[in-house]
Symmetry: C2
Subunit: 446 residues, 2 copies
């Protein structure tokens, strides 16, 4: 194996044939008091630069080398089980302490926040993968960590909390009674389940009260998608070494960093006409289908409405996702970058329900010996569907799927799935209306 | 990285300067009815051959390639945290679906049992790592699987059971009400905790009642140590590539396959005078110290006394280990091969209590980003102790430790450890007497 860890991240903004819609600072409210996230200049540059290759700092590259390059392998036993005419390759990002791709950005962010003088990082986490990654990265650079974890995941996955605490992080369920935002939410939603947007709002509250703290976020921002491009850059090289180029790429879609991470380098190569076009498919849960059912509009990225407005495919920051097990896909919107790619038809989207998704996750585990996170099982399910289509149509595509994390902390869900106890909660029209009621009512000039 | 998966296992019997004591069939009892394990001829050859290199069959090698060669890395951040003058390298065997080294032998055994016409494998498991490995391997070769899991682990690690069931295995806690042996044990020990020897006895019971079934075992037999030598063979090559040779090797000791797997290739090279001698240290729990507190004697490998007698360091098959979390190290004896090496002073042993061991496991997780299984944490603790000694003595040894598995299913224990809730249960003289009361009373002629 001669593929090595990339020396630079790939910045798709250098190759996009359209500009991204600008963010809009909230007109009034708490943001004016400094509660909007303060992002280090290096990360702002990572989000705004037009430079195609953004060098990876030595400290980050050294940390990457402790688990990268990650495995890329042909799923031969899965292919055999399906009897498919397709060739299926998977890239596996679950082999690090955070159990997912999230560590790729956590290490970069912790490095830059640390250099900016921050000594305490605060964040919200859904399934707990980002929280674990952030806790590990914060400790690596000598910082404290504070995590607000969506209450449902907090209850479903107690060992995620333990793992974060082993890295010295303080962890609360969100909604919590630790912040004004949390208390206000609980007062009006006593049995409220919360969501990632609320956890983010609580984090911003917490930061405002603790000098030296900063809020960081696992996905959605351009810079986190940039950091994740190590996945796709490695995959391109690894496939090329085997004489392959993918026809289709499947990755699950939460806020966008996993999907962006594997697909952007391929999309860029096609835009530069250095490689054939690839059909890139974002796979979302039918219970939180922001691309396939959402609106392309300016929205807040958190619940309290203190963050800048970004133009995104969104279900509204007040959308409360059904309690599916793929906590990482419960975010109400997706990144402005993936949203723009979807709007301009450079990427596609499919939505699946969790009972089907878990069945495919179990098949993948049995055949390939890797238990996928429920998030990753979405992408696997879409890949299996594509392989079956290919067989039916007599085509022989090369399929690439990103298995973004392991499911070792999701075995309670897998046990339910194996016992036929999972259900599919699909949002109602009323749920969608409630979500959109949180959209800002003015029309921005931009 | 140019190191590839070995093409052959290393057989230390070719280089040992002494013969291993022969096994003795039980003089009477159930063994005469065919309840002793029926082992395929290929595995018997693996145990008895004097050939130094035993070729790895293509089907096994192909399976190995899905996760081997495994990671060998310098623990630079651990070294820095310790401020040690020692160089610490670790070999990591937790990156496969079983979460431990056990898959190395499970795949080989499943392959040979399948070729021998067996369609159902039955086994006992302590911590569940072997059971998971066996379930995965059985499914890979189209066989059913039946697992008796020591009740304490069954309760402590429900997700281990789920994972085995995802591979189609049927899993019971041992003692169970499914077998005569289990029922008899429960009748006299209604709150009996059982141990691996009892789980093995129940497995043998079950096999006797199910034609087409065979009993298989995760560790202890010469052939399982042989299969595990891929660990040490890879490690030798990987270290040599970095210009290193270990002065000391640390591995946890249960029945012996992990310790044997990493150390035998180094011991063999030293016996052949092809490489300097290495201090190989078997690390055992203070609650189950078979080498440091046991007796070198002929003993049964199971509880019911139906298996051939083997000469081993043993605490007696009726020894009931305190309920420590490192289930894989609870076996009452260790393999005859490791026992002979210890008797002839080719290897050493150290015993540590679990509170110290978990603290070292947490330090390793924080610094190296891998959460070790409690078993592996024993070896890590001994390595840290060695590194501290080196610093105190001003020496600069090269230390190699085998991190045999991950601790993702042991986070309840880690949470207790972090909260200061773990205790050390050290056996009493009475416990040791009870254990030895199970030793066969006759003196074999051999």
């Amino acid at each position: 194996m001669t593929v090595s860890v990339p020396q630079a991240w790939y910045n798709v903004l250098a190759d996009l044939p359209f500009p991204l819609p600008s963010d809009i600072p909230p007109a009034a409210g708490p943001a004016a008091t400094g509660r909007a996230p303060q992002v280090p200049k290096s990360l702002v540059r990572h989000s705004e630069s037009r430079r195609r290759e953004v060098p990876i700092a030595d400290e980050i590259g050294t940390a990457y080398e402790s688990w990268r390059p990650t495995l890329l392998r042909r799923a031969s036993r899965l292919e055999a089980a399906l009897g498919t005419s397709a060739r299926i390759y998977f890239k596996y990002e679950g082999g690090n302490i955070s159990g997912s791709h999230k560590l790729n950005s956590a290490i970069a962010q912790a490095y830059y926040y640390s250099r900016a003088g921050v000594d305490r990082l605060v964040t919200g986490t859904g399934a707990g993968q980002w929280g674990t990654a952030m806790a590990a990265a914060a400790q690596m650079f000598g910082m404290d960590a504070r995590v607000f974890m969506v209450a449902l995941s907090f209850q479903q996955k107690p060992y995620r909390r333990t793992l974060m605490e082993l890295f010295g992080a303080a962890v609360s369920p969100s909604p919590s009674t630790d912040t004004d935002t949390g208390r206000t939410f609980l007062a009006t939603n006593p049995d409220g389940r919360g969501n990632l947007a609320l956890a983010i709002a609580e984090s911003l509250d917490d930061v405002a009260r603790h000098p030296g703290s900063a809020f960081c976020i696992g996905s959605g921002e351009n810079y986190s998608l940039l950091h994740q491009t190590v996945i796709g850059l490695e995959a391109r090289e690894q496939l090329a070494e085997m004489g392959e180029h993918p026809d289709e790429i499947y990755a699950s879609l939460g806020a966008g960093s996993n999907f962006g991470g594997i697909s952007l380098p391929f999309i860029g190569a096609a835009l530069r006409r250095e490689a054939p076009a690839v059909r890139c498919v974002a796979v979302e849960p039918a219970s939180c289908p922001k691309l396939t059912r959402g609106t392309y509009a300016y929205d807040y990225t958190d619940y309290s409405g203190t963050t800048p407005l970004e133009k995104m495919y969104t279900l509204g920051s007040r959308f409360v996702t059904p309690s599916i097990h793929a906590g990482g896909l419960r975010y109400h919107a997706t990144s402005k970058l993936v949203s723009a790619l979807y709007h301009h038809k450079l990427v596609e989207a499919e939505a699946y329900s969790q009972t089907d998704v878990f069945a495919s996750g179990i098949l993948f585990c049995r055949t390939e010996g890797i238990l996928p996170a429920p998030e990753s099982a979405h992408a696997i399910h879409a890949t299996i569907a594509a392989a079956r289509r290919a067989t039916a149509e007599g085509t022989t595509p090369c399929l690439l799927v990103c298995v973004s994390g392991h499911g070792h902390f999701d075995l309670a869900a897998y046990a339910d799935a194996a016992a036929g106890l999972l259900t599919d909660e699909i949002p109602t029209d009323e749920d969608y209306r409630t979500g959109l009621s949180g959209l800002p009512t003015f029309t921005p000039a931009g």
